[in-house]
């Protein structure tokens, strides 16, 4: 009665197949003797080669050789990887020696798609990249197109854009507070963060019609004017979130377990951060006051008052504190936007770029033609190339567009901050405990939609 012979054990019979199904080939991490010196150094997190501070790859751990360490795989569907991030780790017991992120599981070819969509449709594409801060994506894209077109955006549109992107920064950081809380075991923070974000999403829905992928900021202005009584809604959002940030302080900042898991963990220096091209809260946590809103102002950021929050130690706690305080700074900016919001058009009146109002189409032949041309062919953009960068909640979001004079971008490349910031993983994880890898992923705050695009 022995149906099951050793040869029918699945893993034995299909071993080669199992490896082939899960292997990412050369993208994976390999044993030390199979890895080149440069790559080994990179996986070890030895970023700086000057000043004798580079780590000797043969000297990572004198007591252990390859037989005693273990290469394990974390993800891609691990709950704390914020999506589909896969990290391969070389472990000595519970200590991380090397690490290497493997990405691409959410790659949908959005840059290729962007070449097939006209400039009018492009916003719907880019807004899906960083799905936690859609407004900043659209803003980076729209500003690049406007630079190519060489058109001016009305003042009110500028201020609406600024207010919406600050609201978006708040909602993005609130999701970060929520997921970071959950990664560290505070499920109540998860619920609070998402509860506050809901206020902002409700306002987005009232303004743009959608909650997440808004396509609200468009080349030439914004899609719609702010709804009646928007001041009251935004006041309520500001007051609520301002008060709640102090509740988060009480809940998390002073809490012993929370502090012990963040303080001094995964520290990084300014030189390392700059060498790795890190931007956003990661760079600011090392004490570099680099915030494009302040250092290379766009929109009307030079007319509002806010502080650039920087850290001192570059550790996890600094990154937490920076994001929490950036929510407060965003509240400050939004409050000034309410006061200083100018009157006027919410989009440029250039009929070649802006579709006519619906009512005009019934009475004006010209408006009908413009409407038809805009939505069938789209507008033509002069030949050229442009790189436009803004400060997204995660860092510098750049948009590089090459135009061949047609109605579709010839090439659209998005410099995604999360994609670049992920390069810090080997450095931040090295020498830490296995449990610290969770906090490292969390405080880098990658959005996988943006990483893989």
């Amino acid at each position: 009665m022995s149906d099951i012979t050793p040869t029918t054990v699945r893993s034995i019979e299909r071993e080669a197949l199992l490896v082939a199904e899960t292997s990412e080939g050369a993208q994976e991490m390999f044993r030390r003797e199979q890895t080149g010196a440069d790559e080994l150094r990179r996986e070890l997190g030895a970023v700086l080669k000057v000043d004798g501070r580079a780590l000797d790859p043969n000297n990572i751990d004198v007591e252990r050789d390859d037989d005693e360490t273990m290469i394990i795989n974390m993800g891609p569907s691990h709950p704390s990887t914020h999506g589909v991030l896969r990290i391969m780790l070389e472990l000595d017991g519970e200590t991380v020696l090397r690490s290497k992120p493997v990405i691409g599981y959410l790659h949908t070819g959005m840059e290729k798609t962007g070449e097939e969509l006209s400039y009018v449709q492009g916003g719907t594409n880019v807004t899906r990249m960083d799905y936690l801060s859609p407004v900043t994506n659209e803003l980076g894209y729209s500003m690049a197109v406007e630079k190519l077109l060489n058109i001016e955006v009305p003042e009110r549109a500028t201020w609406i854009r600024m207010m919406m992107s600050e609201l978006n920064r708040m909602s993005s950081h609130l999701v970060w507070m929520a997921t970071n809380g959950m990664d560290l075991g505070s499920t109540s923070m998860m619920i609070y963060g998402l509860r506050e974000r809901e206020l902002i999403l409700a306002f987005f829905e009232k303004t743009a019609g959608l909650r997440l992928n808004l396509n609200y900021v468009r080349p030439g202005g914004v899609a719609a004017d702010l709804p009646d009584g928007w001041q009251d809604d935004v006041e309520v959002i500001c007051d609520t979130i301002w008060a709640r940030t102090f509740e988060y302080d009480q809940l998390l900042t002073g809490q012993t377990i929370f502090r012990q898991r963040l303080e001094g963990v995964a520290a990084i220096t300014a030189e390392e951060a700059i060498a790795l091209s890190l931007t956003g809260p990661l760079l600011r946590s090392t004490g570099v006051p680099w915030d494009l809103r302040r250092t290379m102002p766009y929109l009307a950021y030079d007319q509002v008052e806010f502080d650039v929050i920087t850290g001192t130690y570059g550790d996890n706690f600094d990154r937490y504190a920076i994001r929490l305080n950036e929510i407060r700074e965003s509240v400050r900016i939004v409050r000034q936007c309410i006061e200083m919001m100018p009157k006027g058009d919410f989009r440029t009146q250039d009929p070649k770029v802006t579709p006519p109002p619906r009512a005009r189409i019934d009475e004006s032949m010209e408006a009908l033609i413009h409407h038809f041309k805009l939505f069938t062919e789209g507008f033509h953009v002069p030949v050229g190339e442009v790189y436009s960068a803004i400060e997204s909640p995660r860092g510098e979001l750049g948009c590089y567009i090459v135009s061949d004079g047609g109605p579709k971008p010839y090439r659209i490349h998005v410099r995604a901050p999360s994609f670049v910031n992920l390069q810090a993983i080997p450095l931040l994880m090295r020498g830490g405990m296995m449990s610290d890898t969770i906090t490292v992923i969390s405080t880098i705050d990658p959005v996988m939609g943006e990483v893989d695009r």
């Binding site: 440069d38 790559e39 290729k112 700059i274 790189y387 061949d404 992920l422």
Partner: protein, 171 residues
Amino acid sequence: MDAGSADGRSIGNPQVSNVATQPALNAVEGYFPTREQYLDLINQLKAEGFEMAVDLCAVDYLSHPGRELPEGITPERFEVVVNLLSLSQRRRCRVRVQVPENDPVITSIFSAYVGVEAMEREAYDMFGVVFTDHPSLSRILMPEDWEGHPLRKDYGIGRVPVQFKEGPGPR
């Protein structure tokens, strides 16, 4: 390091054996080195204050050959575009290198800027431009056994056939 404060250094135009320059759009200075000059120019720009390589990407100019380039630069099919950023000077500059189709090989600038590792891998993955001296040049977004380089202009985008509910049967 306090990168926010200008330290008074002035950035002159790098004179690496006659690199072609041209003020690009929005008063961003543009450099057009040849492949041989590329790494030297990058090293010199880094020494002159551009601390960070913010972005590196490639462009396939297969169907748009008539673009504006300074005199003496032959347009080739591929172009590698590097955006550098100077935190201390609050300046940007752009380096554009022509890479021919029949020999899409270029030096990696990993030795100067560690942060371009992932971006060069992406450019290789999407365009098939090979970066020599890169620590581990493998695909990054596509699966390892993928054929072709998706962002090339001659790479088909494919299409999904429209399925009508009650379409006519095959004739």
